[in-house]
Amino acid sequence: MNRKILYIVSVTLVLFSGCLKEQEDLFSEPAAIRLNNAIGSIDSVLTHAKNGWVMQYFADSSSAGYTMLLRFEPNGKVTVAAKNMLVGGQYAESVSMFDVIGDNGPVITFNTYNEILHRFSDPSNPAGIGLGGDYEFVVYSYADTLIRSKGKKTGTEILLMPLNEQENWNDYLDSIIGMKKILFSAGSPDLRLVVDGVKTDYLFTNGSSMMFTVGKLQTDLTYDCPFILTHSGFRLYNAEPFSKKGAKNFVLNGDKSALVSAEDPTVKLLGPDDLALYISETSVNWVLDESLMSEDVKILCTQIIQSVESKYNGVSDVYLAVRKLDKEGVFSLLLGFTYNRKIIEAELYFDYSLIDKNVLGLSIRGDGNSAGIALSKSISGYMDFATLLSSSFQLSTDVLVCPKNITFTKQNNSGTWFVSTRE
């Protein structure tokens, strides 16, 4: 019996030892050592970028993104620069301290106050909350070309990319402002999402607020889509969900006809495809640029301006513009100026027709507002210009995705033309 028990115990032990499994270590070193190594490496990566880093900063996942430039030095000094409304619209730099510490993983902390970076986390306005941003960033991947991090409190994704060594900081920030001027200024058109060459029902609107409202045609559905401008276009905070192709970074293409997804070039955002339709649906002033017009147009413009200046002593801000009047359902030739601190807007009306794609027909009606009718008789050249405008025009632009300037060229006489700017 005893021997039997011995056999059973022996066999059982052998069986159990077979279940024993040596768990292989996933990591070659303990967590503390790996964290210390990561801290050293991140510090080194940060300070080795000679011309610093571009930080794409979102205070939270539902507000506009801001670009800051940062230069980290081995002695713990960091210089932060920006050029945006939060710093008064001018190029501004601020110097403070930084450190890479072990916290929730490796964390880049800006641990003395920086006039630029801490604006986003300063809780003074509104009291206790401020803009709600972070100043400590948990790094979850790093390389010489890209550091991905998340705000420690908000979890908002913050990217750092090295800046080209030859790039001047002010010029770089200007290029971003320039992109804003190209893409998003007053009256800028809605952008239509196009996938594989097919127009979707999704319209990206309100880009000048740095937060798209994406609406679906024929529905009340809207979706907020924060983004940050880049020197070549913009990056959405989250990939747009409509194409299901993960499009996030949009780049203005070479002929400025589309914003093309860097992730999948079949995903595009397009502006108006018919300029005549666009300006007939947009109630903004298209102001004539005196330096960009044919000689015959220029003669009339000069005549009008001189006539206004001679009739109204001390007059200022004289301009000519074309605009669509929604209420009246007509186009007008607007002659505007400031006299005795009053803004005068004289208008002569035109019926209009969309003759073809990018072709607008204007036909003088012989009426206008009271100032327009009065000045058509007293201002030399005003009526002549209205007559010249009563014609059909081929419309063209240099930035089709977001027309800021539109050239009107007479269809039956290409030698007569003028450039107008959206204001």
Partner: protein, 300 residues
């Protein structure tokens, strides 16, 4: 009892006596001064802190904000390096040097905080509309908020009043917490205004309403221990004119209560700490009045 048991008991008894031995002031418990790059913008300041706080007072002066060491209930930002330098010099001049000259040099080495943590912003309580100016934790750490609001470009009386409210009073307020956490204040103090404290509603009282109830400030009306330290802190930093103005606003009854509290505080400081509050106040006010633009060392 065998021999081994006897020896073990004897060792335990000796060990426990040894543990009761009072600690002497020794070298700093903090690491040696950090190896800081001489080209760092903070190098001179770090060296100054080393010789003025860490070495003599065993005190870690944390001006580079440590988020984990701050109150996570608040949204806060760090103090600027510039303001930290200014405030560090003021803390030394108006707090540490005062105790060194008026009590003795060992006093703050023994009872002073082991850490001072500077925070740039206020700690706002949006729900109650209040903000925290400072905290003292367990007699170890003093946190001062709103450091970025320090303005040393003007030494007008208005600005001094503001600095008193935000920083100087807060320093003495928080340090007095440390003192009474070490040697408790008389229980009789709590009876003076018993029933009049309003922990949740003190901020809705006006200065005058608080004074008439016998509180030197609205915050003093929150609870007895705050009342106790507010009496001392306000008395130390307020000029005769300002102190008397509050007492006058309090009316006969309120003034009597405030004076009664001041007497308890005065006696407690003298008996427990050998501190003559009147003399210390005179020294603090003298130093406050001597502040001018030349006070601040720009080379730090």
């Amino acid at each position: 009892m065998n021999k081994i048991t006897f020896i073990l008991i004897a060792i335990c008894i000796f060990s426990s006596f040894y543990a009761c031995k009072e600690d002497e002031f020794t070298d700093s418990v903090f690491q040696d001064a950090p190896a800081i790059d001489p080209t760092s913008p903070a190098y001179n300041f770090e060296m100054w802190l080393e010789s003025n706080f860490r070495k003599p007072y065993n005190l870690s002066f944390q001006y580079r904000m440590e988020d984990v060491g701050s109150d996570q209930d608040y949204n806060l930002v760090p103090a600027s390096l510039e303001k930290s330098k200014q405030l560090a010099q003021l803390i030394k001049y108006l707090w540490f040097d005062v105790y060194a000259s008026m009590v003795d040099e060992e006093f703050l080495k023994k009872y002073g905080p082991r850490m001072i943590h500077l925070i740039g912003s206020a700690a706002y309580n949006p729900n109650s509309g209040t903000m925290l100016l400072g905290t003292a934790e367990g007699g170890i750490k003093v946190t001062l908020y709103s450091c970025n609001d320090l303005d040393l470009t003007s030494f007008s009386q208005n600005n001094l009043d503001l600095m008193n409210e935000y920083y100087f009073k807060t320093m003495h307020h928080e340090f007095t917490h440390i003192l009474h956490q070490t040697k408790d204040y008389p229980r009789s103090f709590e009876k003076i205004s018993a029933g009049k404290y309003s922990p949740m509603g003190w901020q809705y009282r006006t200065d005058e309403e608080a004074a008439k109830l016998g509180f030197i400030s609205t915050y003093a009306g929150s609870e007895a221990r705050e009342d106790f330290v507010e009496i001392i802190a306000n008395y130390l930093v307020k000029s005769d004119k300002d102190w008397n103005a509050v007492v006058a606003m309090a009316g006969t009854e309120g003034a009597s209560i405030i004076n009664q509290k001041l007497t308890v505080c005065t006696d407690w400081l003298l008996e427990k700490w050998n501190i003559d509050i009147a003399k210390m106040r005179a020294e603090i006010l003298r130093r406050q009045q001597s502040l001018d633009a030349s006070f601040y060392n720009n080379d730090l």
